[in-house]
Symmetry: C2
Subunit: 336 residues, 2 copies
DNA sequence: CTGAAAGCGCTTACAG
DNA sequence: CTGAAAGCGCTTACAG
């Protein structure tokens, strides 16, 4: 650890050569600048001896590159996002980048604030799972040439650099399995807020019903809050079972499925029936419920990896890329 | 968003006053420097008009403060750590700080690397859940005056600035409940690696047994890896049940408890018995198992909050603090 | 009350 | 091949 803070100037004095020379050598530009091998040797040795470490703040100020990227998600403590964070971290490390993170809680104001804060802090790029109100801000930034990658969701087909799951076909596959398994009246419990994810998963549900000529019944489609929704889910699931005679439920995601699944487990026990469920994403705890289920598991690690790689390409590109990567969710069928 | 990058010099030119004056005003030192109210007014107005944002890289270079702290944990995708990360983030935001994070995977080499990387990047302080080999490195850094807070575990009573759970008394309470509930042969499944956490939880187990004059039987204490340990846990739990006639098991943590609990649930079903378990930490999924349990839940959010506050105090202090904060885990008794 | 100047530690044209 | 110098955008003694 260099507590002494050796600078280029220190080495320069020690060696009696100019700072520029040392800088070139330390940055691997010796060849390019045709520095003599002997000099390179001498400089590297001395630098190592003195424990020289370039000051990143000075480099950043001079070059305008901080080697730091920002990650903004709804909530880093949510395991979906923390897994993404981990894979982004791993990929960032590969490229010599660091990651600062922020949680927006899906709150427009906070999200905007974070974007601006991170931007002003001179991050080299941003990976973000945007809140609804971020659209204009993000597009303005992108148009100004700032590297951004949207993950998990986006606003319309107009945005650039998107990495998402196959929400439509994934949920289509889930519902199709439920149907093939003999279910004819499949409820849907989804989020009340609008987003590309919400929209596409709904479309997948509709598509499957249509294909098998089942009725699209809005009475058995329920919208709940995206946070602290345990009570809502319980109420809705009970209502669907007791008053609407559904034979299966498709849940928007795994946490909702686990919450609703608890109710269904109790119902199955007391009724002797064996209702199953479907949901997007899975969890090792879903199987703890012991009820039949089918889920489409996102490749979360890949989502992080792919988005970080795309961001790196955007950072190193002079032109605005326009990529959309759709990652296929893997189907797990435990309907039995 | 200021895409144009206005600098102090720009405002200075525009207004015909010196940069220093503007700097003072922007940093709220107007009063201290006795700048005239009219001037303050004029400068603030112009700065706002031009969309001035101080360049953090320049500030950092000049002042040596980056307003960024580092967070190093075993794995940010582990929900225990991601919850801590979130509460640290929230507290950091309060103080105008950003957080960069890194996952060490409990790997000494990686952890050292991360510490050095973050240190060299000029973070203002570090919150770390250390790996075994970090001891010397961390103490050296602390002695050199670098602000560090250890969370979750530490090495000996010699380290400074520690925030941990009451591991000993927490696990003592858990085992005591198990005993009071009528259990006399309580197995223990713990981690194979040594750390303060492992040590203290074991001591709590021993203390409770002693107090109630139960035998400390090393045959029913099992050590497993701290990662990918599903198979080991399964094997050990089965062995404890089948060959050692235990009537309860105390698990080192919640994830291990859930894994082992699955086996116990099956056993309970087939045997008609109703074995219960104990464990440190809980999870909303533990109850999904439907077996009796008692757990001591750490105040994870508080852990992050307290550690960040302590770090802030250390950053703003000229002398080395030496605080140890022990957070009490809350007991949840579902033994029935 | 206000201005001119140094300096944080780099990188990179510009000269030679 | 190598050196001297400018400049990134700040903050902060130092003068007046």
């Amino acid at each position: 650890m260099g507590f002494k803070k050796v600078s280029l100037k220190d080495i320069s004095k020690e060696l009696g050569v100019s700072q520029s020379l040392i800088s070139f050598v330390m940055n691997g530009k010796a060849k390019e600048m045709r520095v003599s091998d002997a000099m390179v040797e001498k400089i590297l040795k001395k630098a190592d001896e003195m424990g020289y470490k370039a000051n990143p703040m000075a480099q950043a100020l001079r070059t305008g590159k901080s080697n730091t990227i920002g990650l903004i998600v709804a909530d880093i403590s949510n395991s979906f996002y923390s897994k993404i964070a981990r894979s982004i971290e791993d990929e960032a490390t590969e490229h010599g980048y660091h990651v600062i993170f922020g949680s927006s809680d899906e709150n427009d104001k906070r999200s905007t604030e974070l974007i601006n804060l991170f931007y002003d802090k001179k991050i080299d790029g941003l990976i973000i799972s945007p809140a609804k109100g971020d659209r204009d801000n993000l597009m303005k930034l992108q148009n100004s040439g700032f590297p951004i990658v949207l993950i998990d969701r986006y606003f319309s087909e107009n945005e650039s650099n998107i990495v998402v799951a196959n929400n439509l076909s994934g949920s289509y596959e889930i519902v199709k399995r439920l149907i093939k398994n003999g279910n004819k009246k499949i409820g849907y419990i989804t989020h009340g807020t609008d987003s590309s994810v919400v929209r596409y998963r709904y479309q997948g549900y509709v598509k499957a019903l249509k294909e098998f000529e089942l009725e699209l019944n809005h009475q058995i489609i329920r919208k709940v809050s995206h946070i602290n929704n345990e009570q809502e889910i319980e109420t809705n699931v009970k209502d669907l079972i007791e008053n609407h005679d559904i034979d299966s439920i498709f849940f928007f995601n795994n946490t909702m499925a686990i919450e609703g699944g608890k109710i269904i487990r109790e119902y199955n026990k007391s009724s002797g029936r064996n209702l199953g469920i479907g949901c997007f994403d899975s969890s090792r705890y879903l199987e703890l419920l012991g009820i039949p289920y089918v889920s489409a598991v996102q490749q979360v690690e890949k989502l992080g990896e792919v988005s970080m790689r795309l961001l790196m390409r955007q950072i190193n590109s002079t032109s605005q890329l326009n990529e959309k990567k759709v990652l296929t969710a893997r189907l797990i069928d435990k309907l039995g």
